[in-house]
Point group: C2
Chain length 265, copies 2
């Protein structure tokens, strides 16, 4: 028994997390539980949590904080999450800053000193674009969003530093203007874009070859528009090299109980 | 005795109109009475006023209505204007839709059937850009904004029809994004732009040769951004051919008592 895209779009976040926890929903979360904030995950030892929090506050467009857990506590009540160790479909485990194998739960890895951060995600503003009748190219093509490492530096905090990572969506000029206006209303979902037009100006050499995600969909006459991306903190974790860090696998987000509209301004 | 740009910027609208009325202020109004709405003027016979009002309501980005007078009444109390016949520095007189000589007052032309429309103007959002630290190229160069006739049609109403006219300002990609976000907050000052990037896509053949205003200032790496422009109704008046119509001369606007921020959302 599988659910179609419509059923997944209308599913409540608690039901999504339950199905993930039970291993019945194992794919990317784009388009699931429409209208609710999805989150990027970053779990770090207490020793690094203070610096990471400052890194997020200094880079709010790439790292908008939706929630922070208590040390050792896998629950995030403000986001409706009972157990962060099981409520995401795929986790990425970093040892000394290096990404290793992905895992499907954190039960074997959990420690009493781990602090959970949940950061906003662009999926939320994408649903606002769709409600406004704007076609989001990678969603229409059934792909993951293309993401690129730029030459724009983040603002460092302690050992956390590195380049800004951006996601790209291409639009007609008129839709690009509307996408800018609409996304700006969702500061917790990365807000307005950081760049549009020539990719080389932010250090992207080949727009056809993203560093993360799927190849882009760009029609003739469309303009590429670039938003700060929640993969940015994964680069900073690579620089900081904590003995253990855990994120989601890109595209496999935490589905929260926070309404996307409540993240707007 | 002349006033410098700073004194003109801080002058109250009533003082600006008084000086214009007395023939002591005769130039364009860009940068004058910062923080107050400036308006495009359109004065039409009562026979055409209903259709023109519908034209404005159908084309709100180019023709945002700030105020409408009573037939034959030269005052616009809601905008602080005592006498529209003398409070603008240069008027353009159209006979049967054809622009003739510019005049400096309307005392000899006024009729009991004339209805005054005041439409919003981009000067108001330009001051918001400047407060945000964004350089507006034509202002920095001491020029009038470049304006272009596009191949985008307006929505007709009765005899009023014609192409959309746009104004152009060029910015770095990051400033273009901020300019879009900021201008969208001022729907009575034309709101968000209608186009960015390739001028040919909206029928502009040579961006170096505007149809109205001064040649553009575009630095390397800057993107042209196009806003609906208050010259659009002048084109529609040309199509409608009323026996008499009066507008301002482009750049020589009505300075109103309406605070620019009160025109925001």
């Amino acid at each position: 028994m599988t659910d179609g895209p419509d059923q997944l779009a209308h599913m409540k976040p608690a039901e999504v997390r339950k199905r993930i926890r039970e291993g019945r929903l194992t794919g990317p979360t784009s388009g699931i539980a429409a209208g609710y904030m999805q989150g990027n995950l970053a779990i770090l030892p207490r020793s690094h949590a203070g610096d990471f929090m400052r890194f997020c506050l200094r880079n709010p467009k790439s790292c908008p904080v939706l929630g922070v857990g208590e040390p050792g506590d896998p629950a995030l009540p403000s986001l409706g999450v009972d157990d962060i160790r099981t409520d995401v479909a795929r986790y990425r485990v970093f040892r000394d800053g290096v990404a290793g194998a992905d895992v499907s739960d954190l039960n074997a890895l959990w420690r009493d000193d781990l602090v959970t951060f949940v950061l906003g995600c662009s999926f939320s503003f994408e649903s606002a674009l769709q409600r406004a009748g704007i076609t989001v190219p990678h969603i229409a093509a059934g792909r993951n969003v293309p993401m690129y490492v730029t030459d724009i530096p983040t603002r460092a905090a302690g050992p956390f530093s590195g380049p800004l990572v951006v996601s790209m969506r291409a639009f007609s000029p008129a839709d690009a203007i509307r996408a800018i206006v609409l996304s700006e209303r969702y500061p917790l979902a990365h807000g307005a874009p950081v760049h549009l037009g020539d990719p080389a100006r932010i250090g992207i050499r080949d727009i056809g070859r993203p560093d993360f995600g799927d190849p882009p969909v760009i029609a003739e006459g469309q303009i590429p528009v670039f938003w700060a991306c929640g993969v940015t903190p994964q680069m900073a974790i690579g620089a900081a090299r904590p003995d253990l860090a855990i994120t989601h696998k890109p595209g496999f987000m935490l589905v929260t109980d926070m309404l996307a509209e409540s993240a707007g301004v």
